[in-house]
Subunit: 255 residues, 2 copies
């Protein structure tokens, strides 16, 4: 189920996570979940995410596929000073533009003195695609944006600063809100009636998440959408269903 | 950098994570990192991952894009009994085949008695694409595989049982091993020489991961590849570089 058809003001995004360390399992990505919650505060909904290695053709292909089909693309990773940081080069290639040195980033980097060799390496981070704007970063060199593509660091606390700095600067669409309720009923017991409730309330996206706790089967039912009245109606219908099936609605939450 | 060009026996995979809850940030995915480590034990390397919502056209498009370009595709999520579990339907659509009831899964589901309505819902989990084989699951209904696409549960402990059951049943390629070493040197200080080492050892994939600890900048250098002699050479070269730059090679690990 999607709310797309009934929500004209939906603003969509894709997330592109760049880095071998995520695909090898060395690093557990946490940026996607953070971005999902933060972008929802901004009224932007993530509709797809991809993880690609530090290979230019893979990054270019993903950026071009995603930027055509979403209002925004947010990338994380690959903007440091080492040989494996190829995101700026790849974004420039994706847009068919040159890399240029940003005088603002260069000035920032030059504030902290360093021997020539180190400064030269650091200056790699001043290279941005021609025409790109900057994304503020109080912790270090800025990110950048070009067209609808926003390029951020991979280190979570740096990425978080960058996305925070974009508050109020992006097109705002519907914010999704949620209701959830849990019951110690197995999923197969709620499945048929839950499907009926979903059909009756197509503007709400109802998800069913089974779990096992203290040797009992349970299900958490999550309703998401931008219409509070419809969400409350869904929560009411699902809670009544739980009672009618002999369960107890537990841990009701609204968000 | 990639080892593709120098590693003829590379076996590649893509991972497709299916579920609105991952894209909304409600659930933190951990399956990708687990699969990366487990598949590497099996000699299979993940080269891309995607996260898509519970929308059939999105799943179909991703499955078809990924199965053409990788030796294997592993999916997680969407194989339960509720209306939002549409992975089996989507895989059947991607391959252009019917959904059929698996007699083996139906027999398994019928072992546990239930009223007709619940049994009918549970039987949704017996529907698999025509021609699919089963993936064993001691915790519940099996997953399935069709062509090079392996369809598994989203719940981590169930997914883990399923991928474990595939041990020895997949084509085996090179296993990547790693060396890593950490130094309290900022990335920009190691960047130039590290790039030279990478150029001299193209069969090793060298990654550089900066961090800040106790108010000091540091960098962890990770070398991955299938050639232990080359990995040891890279570790030696990187360790010497650290010493020459005035640092100390710390926390050396081999994996």
């Amino acid at each position: 189920m999607t709310v797309e058809a009934t929500e004209p003001s939906l603003v969509t995004a894709a997330v592109l996570i760049i880095g071998n360390e995520i695909l090898s399992g060395r690093t557990q990505d946490t940026n996607l979940a953070y971005l999902a919650r933060k972008l929802n505060e901004y009224g932007i909904q993530i509709r797809q995410a991809r993880v690609v290695p530090d290979i230019e053709r893979d990054i270019v292909e993903a950026v071009n596929a995603l930027r055509d089909r979403h209002d925004y693309v947010f990338t994380t990773g690959g903007i440091g000073p080492t040989h494996d940081d190829i995101t700026a080069d790849s974004i420039a290639a994706a847009f068919g533009v040159d890399l240029v040195v940003s005088p603002e980033i260069a000035a920032l980097l030059e504030r902290r003195p360093a021997p020539p060799e180190i400064m030269a390496s650091r200056m790699r981070m001043a290279r941005i695609p021609r025409g790109a704007g900057l994304i503020a970063n109080p912790l270090g060199p800025p990110g950048f944006h070009l067209g609808n593509v926003y390029v951020m660091a991979g280190i979570p606390r740096v990425m978080q600063q960058m996305i925070d700095s974009l508050a109020g600067k992006l097109r705002r669409g519907a914010t999704m809100r949620s209701r959830s309720v849990t019951a110690f009923l197995p999923e197969s017991q709620v499945a048929r009636r839950l499907g009926q409730i979903q059909q009756e309330l197509p503007q709400v996206d109802i998800g069913s998440y089974p779990f096992q706790r203290d040797n009992r089967y349970g299900t958490t039912l999550v309703m998401r959408g931008s219409d509070d009245a419809a969400l409350d109606a869904a929560l009411g219908a699902v809670s009544r269903m739980i009672v009618e099936l002999g369960g107890e609605p537990l841990d009701v939450q609204a968000g």
